[in-house]
């Protein structure tokens, strides 16, 4: 039996919680669903309650405050609920630890954040190689290090956050390998200056790493990772400003873990599933849902807030989340136009400022076409199904032009992650460099959004009590 509510918010990060609080403050019944045990999203991820000691104390105060405000509100929260289907109308299906649960709602707010992207290189699927975002999850929720000695590589602000997180947790950072040059970072100074608190934090991180003697290698990328006795050998190469590697191996590191990531992509599973309109925006994390100025998608009743609408960062997620919650309240008749207009004025300015910082960071995370073009032929691109670049290229030369056709011909994107990890890379390979992504398209969104344990979903039923449709004709 479905539970009925006014608004379901999928995702309990800053965008989702703020949207929920704003809508609930106008008297709407709001339910937040999240697969994590507590609110906070990835950015303010909380350690488990059972954990004491330093991890618990180190939880970000912004996240602590967010969780307190949520707990004090009328918002219904369902954690450890993995949403696996959203159907038009709306019906939201989730899998809870004790089985399936569903809701009907007048409006759905998608606040599912972002996901990791790695530009593949030989060896990236080996044990010991972990994503930058994945590393932050380990550090924040478990206080766990990826290894004793970790090399941190890739691009964007997560490089610094991860490297410092490792140091704080008592690990050793072998080096920070950045695809960008110092000039790339300097180019974003105007946006950085607009958020002095965050900029100061970044500068503090950098200073701390330098004090610890951590070398910074700019304009370098991982060329390959090999398993050797006692750990991983990471081969690095210099790259040009387009991300194209120069031929020779510039340096080798012997480490036991490599944390690597090439930015984030917007998490568009639900909007793709519901066939909402999307467009490609390389500077905001790839394919993003097309929204109006008030966060409405092309599907009436479906709203998107935070990084799921295009990367803009945690501060923008707060402001955009509140604005989205207010839009929902007005659209559902819980708020007058006048009250709405009164509420949004200053928020809009705040959102704009926050977004300019977030988009500057997103630019540093943007995929560089020459970097993708240089992926060696034998490299695995789809790690669920072990599909290599050579297989994708072969399908392309046989006439496959769209992401979905390559999926059918090669199984690329057919595995448990449903192409979340490889989707943007496959698109870039098919589009061959700078060409527009629109003709290539994206993997069609499919349920279940998370793999569903069959026993849990089927539950305990007697054969004779199954509800069966009429049989096929004789």
């Amino acid at each position: 039996m479905s539970r009925e509510t006014d608004v379901v918010v999928v995702g309990g990060g800053p965008a989702g919680v703020e949207a929920a609080l704003a809508a609930a403050a106008q008297g709407l019944r709001v339910t937040v669903l999240d697969e994590a045990p507590q609110a906070g999203g990835q950015v303010y991820r909380a350690p488990p309650h059972a954990f004491g000691g330093t991890i618990q104390r180190d939880a970000d105060p912004i996240g602590v405050a967010l969780r307190q405000r949520l707990a004090a509100s009328s918002v219904v929260t369902c954690f450890e609920h993995a949403v696996w289907s959203v159907s038009p109308g709306f019906r939201v299906d989730a899998l809870a630890p004790d089985g399936p649960a569903s809701w009907t709602a007048r409006a759905v707010v998608v606040a599912t954040g972002a996901q990791e992207r790695v530009v593949p290189f030989p060896g990236w699927t080996r044990p010991g190689v972990i994503g930058l975002a994945g590393t932050t999850i380990m550090l924040k929720s478990q206080g766990m290090l990826p290894g004793e000695r970790t090399l941190v590589a890739g691009q964007g602000p997560l490089l610094l956050a991860v490297a410092v997180g490792i140091l704080k947790a008592g690990g050793q950072v072998a080096g920070v390998v950045d695809l960008a040059s110092p000039a790339d970072w300097a180019r974003e100074w105007r946006a950085l200056a607009s958020r002095p608190r965050l900029t100061a934090r970044g500068a503090g991180w950098r200073a701390r790493l330098l004090r610890a003697g951590v070398p910074f290698l700019y304009r370098h990328a991982v060329q390959a990772v090999e398993e050797v006795p006692g750990g991983l050998r990471v081969l690095l190469t210099r790259v040009d400003r387009h991300g194209a590697p120069t031929k020779k191996v510039a340096r080798e590191y012997l480490v036991d873990a490599l944390a690597v990531g090439n930015g984030l992509t917007a998490s568009t599973d639900i909007t793709r599933l519901l066939r909402a309109a999307h467009h490609y925006d390389a500077l905001r994390g790839g394919w993003v849902p097309t929204l109006d100025a008030e966060f409405r998608s092309s599907l009436p009743g479906l709203y998107v807030a935070g990084d799921a609408a295009g990367l803009a960062g945690a501060d923008a997620a707060v402001a955009d989340g509140i604005l989205t919650g207010l839009t929902v309240a007005r659209d559902l008749g819980a708020m007058t136009d006048t009250a709405y207009r009164g509420a949004i004025g200053s928020l809009r300015r705040r959102a704009r400022r926050a977004r300019s910082f977030g988009t500057a960071m997103a630019r540093l995370m943007a995929i560089r076409p020459a970097h993708v073009a240089a992926i060696p032929a034998e490299t695995i691109v789809c790690r669920c199904e072990d599909v290599t670049r050579a297989e994708i290229d072969a399908a392309r030369s046989e006439g496959a032009q769209t992401a979905n056709q390559v999926k059918a011909w090669t199984r690329c994107g057919m595995g448990p992650c449903q192409g979340r990890i490889c989707g943007d890379i496959v698109g870039a390979l098919l589009a061959a460099g700078e060409a527009p992504r629109e003709p290539v398209g994206y993997f069609t969104g499919r349920t279940p959004l998370r793999p569903l344990p069959l026993n849990l979903l089927a539950g305990d039923v007697e054969y004779t009590s199954l509800k069966l449709p009429p049989p096929a004709p004789l």
């Binding site: 979905n404 059918a408 057919m414 793999p451 539950g459 069966l468 096929a472």
Partner: protein
């Protein structure tokens, strides 16, 4: 067609509209038979029903009258390397249809009897015999119908295989171009799309659930029903079954592929229509379908559902195919609405190609004339 817009015109002997397994097979054999052939699709080759169906090669659920065709089609799927040049990972496997209640056992016996009469080698087994063939079965079954001639095809590879063969045969493949209209010329047809115009002496409509729209272009009214079948695939798991398993009601089809994934089908319905395609899976229907699957093969409970998708199936008013020449038109043909159509497509397509090439088809076609309703505009013309 927008006046003044430069459009490329292609002149061919035959234009086939719809690049599913039916249309692609017709096009392939016509090209091999010496005709200049164009194959047009609004999407890509075999990316609708032909690429997303369950790939079951079964006689248990095939309409009795179509059994001889399905048996021929099955043989062709198992030998695609020979005539398409690529293995579509088609495998022969025993097929079992199960009964868990007395009512299902009755249904099972009736179905088996009707199909055996048409030449399908189906016999009824005891539970113990069935469990020897398929040790993974739920031993509480009452009876099973057994057929040696079952199997499965990896449907998503269909398009890749056909595309190579069509190219080698010299077919002009026009993908991602929706046909907007077909005009009748003095002799032949003009097939109009946004980018190209195909002028053809003959036209073959092979549009599956879109046949109703296509036939209307030629002034024929034939209602076509559209089913939205949900399909479910699990993640890779240990070998838990070796046969193709269904139940008497037809509400289940199960098979495990060599890669370890298990495909669960059975015609449970999702949301969609011919205009929008398959739109959304229905969660309750997923749950019902997997409950049935786990009941048949209990080990499936261990695995996880990875993906659900939708495939559109077409059906005529009498649930029998339309394959043959269209009434009142010169050299215009239709092929489609074949129950278990994927199984028999390679054969049905060849039969129609033979007819168009002036050869006597090996088995009778299915005259579409019986399905044509008086169109309102036809009445107007008469008055």
């Amino acid at each position: 067609m927008t006046p003044g817009l430069a459009q490329e015109t292609v002149d061919v002997d035959v234009a086939v509209v719809g690049a599913g397994a039916m249309g692609a097979t017709v096009a392939l054999h016509l090209a091999r038979g010496g005709m200049r052939t164009a194959l047009v699709d609004r999407g890509e080759i075999c990316r609708e029903a032909s690429g997303v169906n369950a790939g079951t090669l079964t006689l248990h659920m095939t309409r009795a009258a179509l059994i001889p065709y399905a048996m021929k089609g099955r043989e062709l799927w198992l030998t695609t390397e020979r005539w398409l040049g690529m293995d579509v990972v088609a495998r022969s496997a025993p097929g079992l249809s199960l009964a868990f209640t007395p009512a299902e056992r009755d249904m099972l016996e009736k179905r088996a009897e009707a199909r055996t009469a048409m030449g399908a080698p189906i016999r009824i087994l005891t539970p113990a015999e069935a469990c020897r063939i398929e040790p993974g079965l739920n031993a509480s079954l009452l009876a099973a119908a057994f057929c040696e001639l079952d199997g499965h095809v990896t449907a998503y590879l269909t398009g890749r295989a056909y595309r190579q063969a069509l190219r080698a045969a010299g077919v002009a493949i026009i993908e991602r171009m929706a046909v907007e209209q077909i005009d009748r010329l003095g002799q032949g047809y003009r097939v109009r799309g946004a980018r190209q115009v195909v002028r053809a002496r003959r036209v073959v409509l092979a549009g599956g659930v879109w046949l109703e729209t296509m036939l209307a272009w030629l002034g024929l009214r034939v209602p076509v029903k559209c089913l939205i079948n949900q399909l479910v695939v699990t993640e890779r798991m240990r070998p838990v079954m070796r046969s193709v398993v269904g139940i008497a009601s037809g509400l289940l089809s199960l098979k495990q592929f060599e890669n370890g994934t298990v495909l669960i089908g059975g015609g449970w319905q999702g949301l969609g229509d011919p205009v929008r395609g398959g739109v959304q899976a229905v969660p309750e229907n997923l749950i019902g379908n997997i409950q049935l699957a786990r009941h048949a093969i209990p080990a499936l409970g261990e695995t996880r559902v990875v993906r659900i998708w939708l495939g559109l199936e077409s059906e005529t008013a009498d649930a029998m195919p339309m394959i043959g020449a269209l009434p009142g038109l010169d050299e215009a043909y239709v092929i489609g609405c074949v129950h278990s159509g994927y199984t028999s497509a390679p054969y049905m397509g060849r039969l129609l190609a033979d007819r168009i090439l002036g050869r006597e088809p090996e088995m009778p076609l299915f005259d579409p004339t019986r399905l044509v309703q008086a169109a309102p505009n036809a009445v107007e013309e008469m008055t």
